[in-house]
């Protein structure tokens, strides 16, 4: 990531930049940015910055300075103030913002160095030239993005016809009457199965199970519960069977007897007390 943002000291200063450097105006001459902006307002603004160049451009516009005459010291201070604010607001400050901060501070210190008074005006390289070029390049593409945005907006308002139905994109259309019949029969068959399943689910009700238990106990006098439970064919039936045993015990129609420790439990009919 370092390699893509590092400032290469290769950029030749443009004539304009060199001219601009003759009238450097470090902080003070321009009106200060209002420092008591409330945090809410800043939060909204911060969200818009796509990267450090964006933030820098914003600050330069706030300061209303010529992009070729960036007051490095003041802009650097503003930039760092924003970074602090972002940290205070618990926004993760991406690495590229910090890289730019370092570059700005370096630039600021280079601006403080006195210029070579004997060098010709053209040779006096403005240390800001590289940054200015990057900012201008960035701004150009921001404008291009704006243009793309409006083009896309217009394009979204234009509609073409919907997809035409053909055998390729809708093969189901290519069937005969008998195919249709077969599918219909399949659906009928599936429907039948579903109905069967529903009946099964409703097979044994609580009342039926109680009756069954009552009859079995009455006819035999007593009943091994294991035998009774083993008749259950589903989990649900088993639950119902268990509940019906409890119910008949509650109603004192049967009593449960265990003849030996860990032995089988037997249900015995209770002769109603007279």
């Amino acid at each position: 990531m370092e390699e893509s943002t590092q400032i290469e000291p290769t950029a030749e200063p443009t004539a304009e930049a060199a001219e601009a450097s003759a009238k450097i105006n470090v902080a003070g001459a321009q009106p200060e940015i209002a420092s008591d902006q409330d945090t809410d307002q800043l939060k909204i603004t911060l969200g818009e910055f796509e990267g450090p160049l964006d933030l820098l451009l914003y600050l330069i516009r706030q300061e209303q300075v010529n992009i070729y005459e960036i007051p490095v010291a003041r802009i650097t201070d503003e930039y760092l103030r924003y970074l602090n604010l972002m940290q205070e607001l618990d926004l993760t400050v991406a690495g590229d913002f910090l890289v730019m901060a370092a570059q700005l501070i370096e630039l600021k210190s280079r601006m403080l160095l006195p210029r070579d008074p004997f060098a010709a005006a053209e040779e006096q390289e403005d240390p800001r030239a590289e940054l200015v070029n990057r900012l201008l390049e960035h701004e150009k593409f921001k404008a291009a993005a704006q243009m793309l945005w409006s083009r896309a907006t217009v394009e979204q308002a234009v509609f073409t016809r919907a997809e035409i139905e053909t055998d390729t994109n809708n093969p189901e259309v290519a069937v005969g009457l008998f195919d249709l019949l077969r599918v219909f029969q399949q659906i009928l068959a599936r429907h039948k199965e579903e109905v069967l399943m529903e009946i099964e689910r409703e097979e044994v009700t609580m009342a039926e199970m109680i009756d069954r238990l009552r009859n079995m106990v009455r006819s035999a006098g007593e009943l091994n519960l294991i035998e009774f439970f083993e008749r259950a064919q589903s989990r649900r039936e088993l639950v119902v069977a268990f509940l019906s045993v409890l119910e008949l015990v509650r109603l004192s129609e049967i009593s449960l007897v265990q003849r030996e420790t860990f032995g089988d439990i037997t249900a015995c009919a209770v002769t109603p007390a007279t």
Binding site: N66, D96, A157
Partner: protein
């Protein structure tokens, strides 16, 4: 007028015209101009994507110039009629589409909203790729001054950009350029229709003496 249509898919024009000359059915060549225009319109209507004059010529089995003339006439007709449809050149082909000013009513009928727009980050990345293509990821990030390549993935997912081979340099990084889908979505005939990047200079730098 159809410079884009001419340049599009130049690759196998020669083979096509040879085939056309060898076509056994002589009668086909005697389609009247009106009929040809009407067939051309029908094909453009039915085509899923913008369709080039060359491709139409292949389908009808006539010379491309004839189709180009028919298309020119059709474009005039649509313009003159001033109806709800426009006949336009896009992404190297021709297309029949609704006029943008009717979007409100069309959306009301389709019950659709404008689909999600690209984020500013994606649009900026797209702008860099459109003007600098073919361009590698590090070069894009350098211009944008950010480290995150996530916008590039978004653009690839939306098929707005495509890989355009590798750059012959250290690490042979992948180069990217815009796709045909990009031309379609942004309503461009071809890339030359994009305004020059230098035109944005004035906007960017402000007044420079």
């Amino acid at each position: 007028m159809s410079k884009a249509a001419k340049t599009a898919e130049v690759a196998d024009i020669e083979t096509t015209s040879v085939e056309a000359e060898e076509a056994p059915i002589e009668g086909r060549r005697e389609i009247s101009e009106t009929e040809l225009r009407s067939i051309t319109e029908a094909l453009i209507f039915v085509a899923e994507e913008p369709i080039s004059a060359k491709f139409i010529a292949q389908v009808i089995d006539v010379e491309r110039e004839t189709i180009e003339k028919a298309i020119e006439k059709l474009a005039q007709e649509y313009e003159l009629r001033g109806g709800g449809l426009q006949f336009r050149e896009i992404a190297g082909g021709w297309q029949i589409a609704t006029r943008a000013e009717h979007h409100e009513h069309i959306r009301a009928y389709l019950r659709s909203k404008p689909s999600a727009k690209l984020s500013l980050a994606s649009l900026e990345t797209l702008a860099v790729i459109a003007y600098k293509q073919p361009v590698t990821v590090p070069e894009i990030l350098e211009i944008r001054g950010v480290q995150s390549p996530s916008a590039i993935k978004t653009l690839l997912d939306k098929r707005l950009i495509i890989a355009k081979g590798r750059k012959e340099t250290v690490g042979r990084p992948m180069m990217y350029g815009t796709s045909k889908e990009f031309l379609i979505q942004f309503g461009l005939k071809d890339l030359s229709e994009l305004p020059s990047i230098e035109d944005f200079q004035d906007l960017a730098g402000g007044a420079i003496e």
